[in-house]
Symmetry: C3
Subunit: 463 residues, 3 copies
């Protein structure tokens, strides 16, 4: 394996030549990462990564789920009570099964990282496992492989993390106070204090009151506590909120009904219906606050989290067992949109796992409502084919300018440049296709390549 300079460009020579030229003009553009899951601690403490398995295998649920799907036990990947403790053994298991990733984006991301970060160009396999392990392990303690050095090497300009409403943001403060020029900004993710069915909801809501200095015993107090925490996040550089809901259902109850509903969920007298209605109401409240304070609102919906009860119980959350559900935004978003959807200060970015919504709902919504932008292909769809389907399906109705640009959404630091590179190549291929079929002029394609590589994200997230 070596990274081919023409990877992901169309085979047709005319298209390939143009894709090359479009990509070349953005290949080294600064990276804007407005949504993701890197650890604030990495950026604050700037410590070396422990070992190759910790960097590439154990915490990457794209990797672990695929291995588990073919019979590898979680334990062999360093997860669970009886877990394998030797990172080299974990790495060997990973390497011996590396063929499972053929045709997947994980393969492309991992090889990109191994080559561009570690200079490794051999293909990973049982035979090469130890040699590659040694080279990565040897390199990891070096200064140029600490988080900040990697960010600088790949020209990362800004990274948004995703942080609970109760987080004290001390790592963010520490980064800022260090004077390091890369912007590491938090994102307000209040799910644990918004979802009445979240573990410890009642305590979380009390704690929200404490950290905000506003009693959450009343509906008004609860909303004001959110306002205070949003302001606190903004003071630490946040420009956005993020909401992970199973469905995109919204509601817009009269204030007294909303207050009564809050009283019910706060005191634990809830059933499924009340919980869903409260989450729905809170999306509208968050949208209202976004229209007030200008924080960009992101909605990630449509995943059945923790599909396997056994995996949740034994190994915990975020282990690859989240499975998407059919979703419809059209009716679900109406209450929110009819409440604040025409407010010029609201910006709502929608993410979807049900691709059937791309042409049916998302492109028509973004191509009409001034407050809506479309997030990039999310999760399973952040892949070459996923990006091409997205572009081909949303562009004709929503255009390019109703897009929020690219998000890497990653938990794996070295995959940030890998994912942006993949997206820039896919976008170059898509634009080349439009130009060679005379649907776009070449100067426009160059202009758009630049927008898609960064400016759309900067504008969408108000950076």
């Amino acid at each position: 394996m070596t990274l081919h300079p023409d990877r992901l460009f169309p085979s047709d020579p005319a298209m390939r030549e143009l894709a090359r030229s479009l990509y070349a003009s953005v290949a080294d553009a600064p990276i804007v990462s407005p949504h993701g899951h890197t650890e604030p601690r990495w950026w604050a403490l700037d410590e070396s990564f422990a070992d190759p398995a910790t960097l590439f295998v154990t915490p990457d649920h794209y990797v672990t789920r695929m291995l588990v799907s073919q019979g590898v036990p979680f334990e062999a990947l360093g997860i669970g009570a009886a877990k394998e403790e030797d990172p080299r053994e974990i790495w060997r298991t990973f390497a011996a099964h590396f063929h499972l990733f053929r045709g997947t984006p994980s393969r492309l991301w991992i090889e990109h990282s191994l080559e561009t970060v570690f200079g490794i160009t051999e293909r990973l396999s049982a035979a090469t496992a130890d040699a590659i392990y040694d080279r990565v392990a040897e390199a990891l303690p070096r200064d140029e492989l600490r988080p900040r050095a990697i960010a600088e090497r790949f020209r990362i300009e800004v990274v948004a993390t995703t942080d609970g409403a109760l987080d004290d943001l001390s790592y963010h403060r520490q980064v800022r106070e260090s004077g390091w020029p890369v912007r590491i900004v938090p994102t307000y993710r209040p799910d644990a204090v918004v979802d009445p069915q979240a573990t410890g909801f009642a305590e979380n809501v009390e704690e929200l009151g404490r950290v905000a200095g506003i009693s959450t015993a009343s509906w008004q107090g609860y909303l004001d506590a959110h306002r205070a925490r949003r302001a606190f996040f903004r003071d630490h550089g946040a420009t956005a909120t993020d909401h992970g809901h199973a469905t995109p259902q919204t509601a817009d109850l009269p204030p007294d009904e909303a207050a009564a509903l809050y009283e019910k969920v706060r005191t634990g007298k809830l059933d499924n219906g009340a919980a869903e209605l409260f989450r729905a109401q809170m999306l509208t409240e968050m949208a209202r606050m976004s229209a007030e304070d200008g924080m960009v609102m992101q909605l990630h919906s449509g995943s059945h989290r923790n599909h396997s009860a056994h995996v949740l119980q034994t190994y915990g959350r975020d282990n690859g067992f989240d499975i998407p559900l059919p979703v419809s935004f059209t009716d679900a978003l109406r209450p929110l949109l009819n409440a604040v959807g025409h407010d010029p200060d609201l910006r709502l970015i929608l993410f979807a796992l049900d691709e059937a919504t791309y042409t049916r709902e998302l492109a028509p919504l973004a191509g009409a409502w001034p407050s809506i932008l479309l997030g990039p292909p999310w999760w399973f769809h952040d892949s070459f084919e996923g990006i091409m389907r997205y572009r081909r399906q949303v562009t004709e109705t929503a255009g390019f300018y109703n897009s929020a640009g690219f998000n890497d959404d990653t938990r794996a630091l070295t995959s940030i440049p890998a994912r942006h590179d993949l997206a820039r190549r896919a976008d170059a291929s898509f634009l080349a296709e439009l130009v060679t079929t005379h649907r776009l002029d070449e100067d426009e394609a160059h202009d758009l390549a630049w927008l898609m590589a960064g400016d759309l994200a900067r504008k969408a997230y108000r950076f």
Copy 2:
């Protein structure tokens, strides 16, 4: 910008050469336009269009919704109480935002019209706005730019308009009496007298009785009034009916239950359930009448009309805020189909906005039921990618012959040739792909190109 002669043909040289040759044989074929929304008045009075903004911007909801989605107020586009009155100012706003249409069919349609109708080959922008405005404005009063001249220049053979059941069809009569050889035929669209939740339904039903000369106080009278109006439409050249329903639900109640339901909706004692059931029942009644009188039945379903309450209230209907919904035809159509679906005189043409139904339902339905044909890609999907998806998804199961050919479905006169040209190019590209991959012989592709350019529509609509 200039219209490239190879636009929309594949980049691969072998496919391109064949696509060119297939397209060449149909490029100048007469245009059959069996479904659309041109104004009967245009054809009857043959007056010049007022100004460039009225021709290209204000009434085109594809254009206005995109501008609104990026923050342009409706007023700046000539819509609303405080609207901009100067067409040149509207045009300037449009031109300054023309980059928003990159990658959209609107861009291709507009440039096709500007070049083929007005000879303009510069790209529209803030810089060229005034010059292009002047050239279009100057040309508009000329005789060759009146509606009939445009129709003749583009070899339009027949145009179906869409007309309410109460319409007196006087413009259609006027066209016919003028001896002009282009067929302008009405289409019976009874939604306002069929949907109990339509504004003024009770009055509409009474008026239906008056214009038909048959009392609509009874279920039987109501059905007979429909029969009379359908006959009146046929006398004016109509060959088809059209039905815009939010869902494709049908029902087949026993006559006495249907009569009781009619009594309920006629007297305003309706709830959501009764209204939906009545619409469902009426689709089956219309299908029965189609089997009697041979009028081709079109069903357009799956749009949540007027998604924004604010836009509806302030600016009215058809302003780009109609958003599709998930739809399923399989169970919904069964009552109608089991009532009359095997009648050799019934022809039912289905249109869809939920592309997930293409392979799942529509192609299997059309590939089995003798009464069903598939309408072309509708609305948001009447685009290059939309057409390619449709062909690739329905052809293998339904073949080419269960298709109703192309519809332009437009409100914009000069986009009729633009849309047919786009569809013919897309079809040529699709056929070229089948031939170069040896799934079809070249003589068959030429035969099919001709069918798709007109004969399928002529046959489907019984012209």
Copy 3:
């Protein structure tokens, strides 16, 4: 018409050359057919086929539905009380309408059979109907055109048939006792004794008890009777079961509730809800038995069978009037999966007609749960475009190794090699696309082509 050696390979020269080479290495690989509907009698008695119409037209519902959809009566195709009895007349009708199959897989399968089995290279049409009929009819009585000779000529290694739970498998025994080396194995398909709404359910369940020698009067007896029949099938070579359910709903009731539900359905006291719940419960019971006895479980769901009441009544089942429905696996499979989904001996192969589930649910499920594999594109989707959509949509999330390989699923003997050839060509095209865009190395593509041509199916079905 002649079969072009490059058919279904991409037009782009670089991709085509590679696709050719990938295909060449598997073109003559043995055929593994783990799911289909050939008649056991054919293999046991090895009689000649009667005539061309019986071989190619009357029993092939892909063919008959398409002709019916364009107005040909079932009777003209040899179906129904007043059916045409002369096979030559049936053939003439078929030939005169052969253009209807342009762009469909039926066209490709039929031409493959005519050329490779009968040496016929003329295109079928009204003009060539008689000559081709004569050549096929003349050839049919020859020894080399009997079922076993055809299987040997095309290197068929194993064929699974689909057999009711009550079947005595005498034909399978006869084949085995004949010493013929091709494996003809049954598949346990218990729908008629599992679906309380199946015709004759109560009698079927009693008969199940009789043939199993275990009374089915109790829930435990009923389950044990299934166990006994599964063992009987295994003794005859079966490695798999198959379940055709309208929905993939599963349930996991406590044993006493399940027993009470069984008592209800056994004694005919059932409503729609109880019937659906029983089918749902039985999927979980079957999965439990699969985990016990190692039989691979196949689930085919999502079809509304017998959509036309008239066709069912007049012409019977399996006449092309089965129409897919929207389906979701995510919530529906949870009870089964949480009961046995982590059992290392369970293997569940999922088939879908709703392609919206490919990226939304199926690839994520197969890419996580160790027990799940994905069946190949089913029914309407077993076509070139269908296969390409499937590969492009599932591979990035599920990889290649969570696939069960190819199934031909056919009722038409000569279409077995035709369908495997089509699939191998499509897979070669897909792999060539990955290699030329540098997402996969060439040696890996060769390795995968071989896996996809047989080994994945051998492994999935435990052959």
